[in-house]
Structures are given as structure tokens and as C-alpha cells.
Symmetry: C2
Subunit: 181 residues, 2 copies
DNA sequence: ATTTGAGTTTACCAAACGGTACAGAAAACG
DNA sequence: CGTTTTCTGTACCGTTTGGTAAACTCAAAT
């Protein structure tokens, strides 16, 4: 039997594996068994191997947030952009049942490999939110601190929710941050 | 040449490696080269191999926090216990230059292996802080939420500080949390 | 009908993985 | 002193790692 895939279908599958297992924990054999693609296909799509797979996945996550979070924050009117962000974030992280790939990569030495992508993701998020808050009338200095607090709070909530095995920590934190800004 | 170590000396070294590289990223050869201990010595101290090394390290971290953070929170008068916590946390995480081993383990599949240790660490921290806040006169429900916010804020700050390569995020967050409780 | 080329399968490779076995060196202890 | 216990160095084991090579399949374009 022969099944044919397209790259667009396979990237989200690989993303989920990296999210679950981390960069080092993700082996080609794990990818093979969970996607059904043999090494040949994998290396056809990603000639650069594992590192290119991770970079592609990172770029896709970044693209998703750029489209559904950062851009609305920049383009829409502040209140609506921020409302869009809350919904998108809650949806993306499955209300605390899913972890942040970028955050996970940031913690171990994987960070060095993808430093600029990781830094860019968080920097653009904070910046977009900070500007939206400022446009909504918040004092600029306060807006910067609040934006940082929100992004960091989301990451912390994901860590804690996962550690305690209790996704409610995430939704509770999202509500609290929502009320605060 | 022959150099002799004691287990007590070697655990912190291994802890630092796990912190840097994560569980999967830490290989025996890396441990060997960074500690100077051969496999023979390693398996003499930790017959259970890599998993026992990680478990031991996790227990040591837990013990440190139990001693210098959780216990003061429980025994000292609330205000002083909390003050001790801020100092210990800032010190332990090198003002944002170091990452939380337990938090890092919580994110990937390593969590499953050490689930109870990881959950216990965070649960006891939150509980001790919550009770201290309650004893200080804070409304019990508020105290519970604040305790959660503090622990999660610290974890998020570590993630963000590392992601941005900017430890100041951590100290700034610590100050903000300090002011809030 | 033939060519083409993206996508797949299978078999391989050297290196590194976690782990084991064991002989010997150094302390500890009688 | 001699013996026992603790610790270390080295060689080895089977398995898995990331990666390569090349033969193959099959739909679409010519």
C-alpha cells in the first residue's frame, strides 16, 4: 500500500510530537510511527533533517500567532484585538491541555539552536500587546509592564497546569489576566 | 590518576546538567565529561542509572525548597516567611539566570516519569504560601489565588527571561509580585 | 505512449545511546 | 599488618540515534 502526503498535512503532526516530547525527546522513529511517513519521505520534505523539521514547526506556530493574535492586536481596535487574543489563546492551548512549543524550547539548550525565532515570537507578542494597550489609553510604561505580565502569566499557567495535571489553572489565570487589563 | 568523589558533591553537578539540557538532552557521556566521573562511579552511586540520577536530583531540589522556602513559610511569622521566600527564590534562580528544573521537567513527557514529585513540589509550595497569606489576614479564597499567581508568575518569568535572554524580566516580575501580596 | 519528477520504500551506515561486567586501586577497619 | 568494602577505569554489549543511498511507484504533463 502506498499513501501520499503533502507537506502542509505533515507539519502539524510533527508539531504535536515536538510539543509532547521536546526537541531531544523527539526521535525520527517516533515521528515515523506517529505520522506514518518513512524516513525517505521525511527527508524528502525536510532535507535538513530533524533540525529543519523543528525550524519549520516553529515557523508555523509563529505564523499562526502572527495571523490570529499579533496582527489583530496591531490592526483591530484595541479592545477587540485584545478580545480576539484571549479567545485565540484559550483555543490554541486547548484551555490548558496543551503546552507552548516555543516556551518548551526556550527552557533547555534547544533555545540556543533557535534563539532568534524564540526571542522573536515573544518579543513581537509583548510588543503588539503593549501597543494595543497604549492605544487603548493605558500609560505607556504601565502598558509595557502589563503586556509582559500577560505573556509571562500565560506561560507560567501552562507550566503549572501541566505540572499539577490541572488545566483549570490555565483558564483561571486567563480570566484573572483578562480582568486586570 | 584517580580522584575520589562523594555523592553529596556530585548531585549538584548533575542537577546543573539536567537543568541546562533537560532529561532527554542529558546523556551519560555529557555527565561524564562535565563531572569527571566515569560510568563505573556513576553507576556505583546510582545503580538505577539515568532515571535514578534525575530522581535524586529532583529530590534534592525539593529538599532545598522544603528547607529554605516551604518550611519558613509554614513556621515563621507570615511576613517574615514570605520575605525569606523572595530572597531565597531570587538567590536560587540567580536573578533569572537559571531555570527551574522542576518546571522544565513538567513541560515534556519527562513529566509522566516524575509526575508525583513534580506535582508535589508545586502543590506544597502553593499550599505553604497560601496558608502564610491567610495567617497574615488575607481572605482565604484570595490567598489561594494569590499563591497560585505568585508561583506561576515565577515560572513564567523564568521562561520569558530565558527566551528573551533578558534576566531583568525575572527580577522585575519578582518585584511586581512582591508588591502585590 | 513516454517522460518526468514528486513522493515512497527499503536497506544500509557510523556514531552515540543507556547499561553491564569486572579487574584493580584506595580507604576503612579489624 | 591483612582483609574487606568502597570506589574507579576500561572494555564491552545490544539498541537506537540521525542520516544516506538508491531503487521504486504513480499521477500528471508532454
Amino acid at each position: 500500500m502506498r499513501t501520499v502526503y503533502e507537506k502542509a498535512d505533515v507539519v502539524p503532526m510533527i508539531a504535536e510530537i515536538f510539543r509532547d516530547l521536546g526537541y531531544e525527546g523527539t526521535s525520527l522513529s517516533r515521528i515515523t510511527e506517529r505520522t506514518g511517513l518513512g524516513k525517505g519521505s521525511l527527508y524528502h520534505f525536510f532535507p535538513g533533517g530533524k533540525e529543519e523539521m523543528a525550524a519549520t514547526v516553529l515557523a508555523e506556530v509563529d505564523g499562526w500567532f502572527e495571523r490570529f493574535v499579533f496582527d489583530p492586536l496591531r490592526r483591530d481596535d484595541p479592545a477587540q484585538g485584545i478580545a480576539t487574543m484571549w479567545a485565540a489563546v484559550d483555543d490554541y492551548f486547548r484551555s490548558g491541555g496543551r503546552v507552548c512549543l516555543v516556551g518548551a524550547f526556550a527552557l533547555d539548550e534547544t533555545r540556543d539552536r533557535f534563539a532568534t525565532a524564540i526571542r522573536g515570537y515573544f518579543a513581537r507578542w509583548i510588543e503588539a500587546l503593549r501597543d494595543a494597550l497604549a492605544r487603548a489609553g493605558r500609560d505607556p510604561d504601565e502598558a509595557a509592564l502589563d503586556a509582559e505580565e500577560v505573556v509571562l502569566g500565560i506561560q507560567g499557567a501552562l507550566v503549572l497546569a501541566r505540572a499539577l495535571g490541572d488545566p483549570a489553572v490555565f483558564t483561571r489565570t486567563l480570566d484573572r489576566l483578562k480582568r486586570r487589563v
